[in-house]
Symmetry: C2
Subunit: 162 residues, 2 copies
C-alpha cells in the first residue's frame, strides 16, 4: 500500500521536534473515514480555518456546496476532500488565483490533466525553491545566534564575543 511509503517519507521529513508532525501526518493521510456530510462548522474545525474562509473559498469559485432545506451548506465527502487539497495548497503558498486556475482546469474535464500536472510541477518547484531559501536563511540566523556580537551588520565578519 502506498500510504505506508507516504507516511514513512513524511515522518522522515519531519525529523525531531514537535507535536505538529502527528497532527500533520493525520491530515496528510487520514482521509479515509470522512462522514458522508458535514456542516460548515465541522469542516472549519477539520481544516482549521474559519467558516468565513470556507464561504470565501466558495465565493471564489473553488468549490460548489449544496444546501439543505434551510439554506445551510452541506459539505459532502468529495467537497471536503477538495477542500483538504485546497487548504494544503494554500498552506504551501499557492496563491488563490493559481488555485482558481487549477480548479477551472479540473472542472473542464479530463483533457486538462497534462496542464494540471504542469501546475502541480511548477508549484512543487516553487516549494523546493522556498525550502532552499529558508534553509539558507536558517543557516544565516543560526550563525548569527552562534556568533552574536550585537551588531546588525555582517554575520560573517567580526563575530565578537557571544
Amino acid at each position: 500500500m502506498a500510504t505506508d511509503e507516504l507516511m514513512a517519507r513524511a515522518l522522515a521529513a519531519l525529523g525531531d521536534d514537535g507535536p505538529l508532525s502527528v497532527e500533520a501526518i493525520h491530515r496528510l493521510a487520514d482521509l479515509g473515514d470522512l462522514p458522508e456530510t458535514m456542516t460548515i462548522a465541522e469542516v472549519a474545525d477539520l481544516l482549521d480555518i474559519s467558516p468565513h474562509t470556507l464561504r470565501y473559498y466558495e465565493r471564489a469559485g473553488l468549490v460548489e456546496v449544496a444546501r439543505d432545506g434551510n439554506g445551510h451548506r452541506i459539505y459532502d465527502a468529495d467537497v471536503v476532500r477538495r477542500l483538504v487539497f485546497l487548504t494544503r495548497m494554500r498552506l504551501s503558498g499557492m496563491p488563490m488565483r493559481d488555485l482558481q486556475h487549477y480548479i477551472s482546469l479540473v472542472d473542464s474535464g479530463a483533457h486538462t490533466v497534462p496542464e494540471r500536472l504542469d501546475v502541480l510541477v511548477e508549484h512543487r518547484d516553487t516549494i523546493r525553491r522556498r525550502i532552499r531559501e529558508l534553509t539558507l536563511s536558517l543557516t544565516a540566523v543560526e550563525y548569527k545566534i552562534a556568533t552574536y556580537g550585537g551588531a546588525t551588520g555582517p554575520d560573517v565578519q567580526d563575530p565578537g564575543p557571544a
Copy 2:
C-alpha cells in the same frame, strides 16, 4: 576563518539544482567588499529591492540614512550591512513589526542583547517550523504528481493510473 564553515554549511544545505545557490551564497558571505557609500539605486540593486522599499524601510524606522548636499540619501557600509540583515530577515518571513522591535532593541543599547537573542531564536524556530510544513507539503504534492488520477480528492487513496 569562520566564513569557510558558513559557506560549507550553506552549500550543503543548498543541494543540487540551481543558479540561485551561487548568488545566494554570495549575498550570505560576500559582505567584505562594500563601498564606503552607496546611492539608493545602488543599494536597491544590491539587495534586489526597489528604491521605494528602501525609503519605506527608512520611514518605518528600520534605518537612519544620511543625506548629501542635494538631500539625496547616502548609504554608508554600516547602514547597508543592516539592510542586508533586514532584507534577509524579511525574506525568511519575519514581519515588519518584529523587525521594528528588534531594531528598537539594537538602538537601545548593549543591555538588550539577551532579548535580541530571544527574538532571533524564536525566528529560527519559526523558520524551522515553516521548513517542516513545506517539506510535508512538498511530499504531498510530489505524491499527487506521481499518482495523478485527476481528482482533487485524496492524495492517499484511489491513486489511479499515472
